[in-house]
């Protein structure tokens, strides 16, 4: 018997990465800004997205959403109330979305063509670990953190926070009764992802939504 070492230097998620690169190219040429929203379960991704979709439509923009959950189409039904086209992705136990799921759900999506959209939001499965490894072809990865979760969340999940392009603090309307230490939270986010844009919002009262929507418009303009 002889032993041989074969150098591979091959990305483990190469297939996903290649598929995501293809999607990114497709999104760019269609001129649609794609955002991947990631957070723990219960942060308020759906409420935040619902308000974002509603306000974008009021501003005359075309927006759609793909929403990932292990089971149920509850979130898709909630988001559809905004009037935007929404499609549910059920992962049946898988803890993250991957590029293949995005590609297959873009196909045959009745009434939606990428070229007709300004924005496509992808609401990932509620999880702060696994989605960080899977590129979905998005241009902007948004991490969300609510005031009820503890200011040290970024320190506990550095892999995901460090991979984000923008951070949104949600439920800011109940920051005070929760004893939320704003300075500490902002400092922790910045310690893990220096220089990241941070938005402080409430989907309930609308606080901070204007700043967020202006950022979206500005980013879409860069396409």
């Amino acid at each position: 018997m002889t032993t041989r070492i074969v150098e591979l230097r091959r990305g483990i998620l190469k297939k996903n990465d290649e598929l995501a690169a293809g999607l990114r190219q497709q999104f760019t040429s269609a001129g649609v800004l794609v955002l991947n929203l990631v957070s723990s379960p219960g942060t308020g991704k759906t409420a935040f997205l619902e308000r974002t979709l509603r306000e974008l439509r009021a501003r005359g923009a075309q927006a759609a959403a793909l929403v990932g959950d292990l089971e149920t189409d509850n979130d898709a039904r909630r988001l559809a109330a905004s009037g935007a086209p929404v499609r549910q992705i059920n992962t049946h136990g898988i803890c993250h979305l991957d590029a293949a799921m995005i590609a297959s759900h873009l196909e045959g999506w009745e009434g939606v063509s990428l070229a007709g959209l300004n924005y496509l939001f992808i609401e990932n499965v509620g999880n702060l670990v696994c989605p960080s490894s899977y590129d979905l072809g998005e241009r902007i990865r948004v991490v969300l953190l609510s005031v009820t979760e503890g200011e040290d969340k970024p320190l506990k999940y550095p892999g995901l926070f460090n991979s984000a392009d923008a951070a949104v603090i949600t439920k800011i309307d109940i920051a005070e009764p929760c004893g939320f230490d704003r300075e500490l939270a902002l400092r922790n986010v910045n310690e893990i992802r220096p220089g990241i844009r941070i938005f402080e919002t409430s989907a309930k009262t609308g606080t901070g939504m204007d700043v967020w929507l202006n950022y979206l418009a500005e980013q879409a303009g860069k396409a």
Partner: protein, 127 residues
């Protein structure tokens, strides 16, 4: 939690690469995993056993080499390794450093094969 998907991707990729060496058995698979890659080593080892059993890779060892995070500091104009993943600051000057140069790797570095003697060299494909 996604370590099983990762293990399955490694198995698929290694079987594909090892196919160029007929008759060889894969003894060891060596990975390079960045400290920020969100992969738990113990969990991946556990899933590796599950993913390889009943496959041509059954019994192959998985060796995980963890790479520390390296940031580039604009002020020092240097790439420096940081201790841990709790603060992305240049260890030399203390400035925040957003430019990550290492730490997200998730790759198969190499595989070790055991081959019967006098096996013919694989035919190299030239593109």
């Amino acid at each position: 939690m996604h370590e099983l998907s990762i293990a399955a991707s490694i198995v698929e990729s290694v079987i594909e690469s090892a196919a160029a060496y007929p008759g060889a058995r894969v003894k060891e698979v060596r990975l390079r995993v960045g400290a920020l890659a969100s992969v738990v080593e113990d969990s991946l080892q556990f899933c590796w056993e599950l993913a390889t059993q009943d496959s041509p890779l059954a019994g192959a060892a998985l060796v995980i080499h963890v790479l520390p995070v390296i940031v580039h500091c604009d002020a020092c104009r240097a790439d420096t390794e940081i201790a841990g993943v709790q603060s992305f600051r240049c260890p030399k000057c203390g400035e925040l450093a957003a430019d990550l140069r290492q730490g997200r790797e998730l790759e198969i570095a190499s595989i070790e094969l055991e081959e019967p003697d006098k096996i013919e060299e694989p035919v190299e494909e030239h593109v």
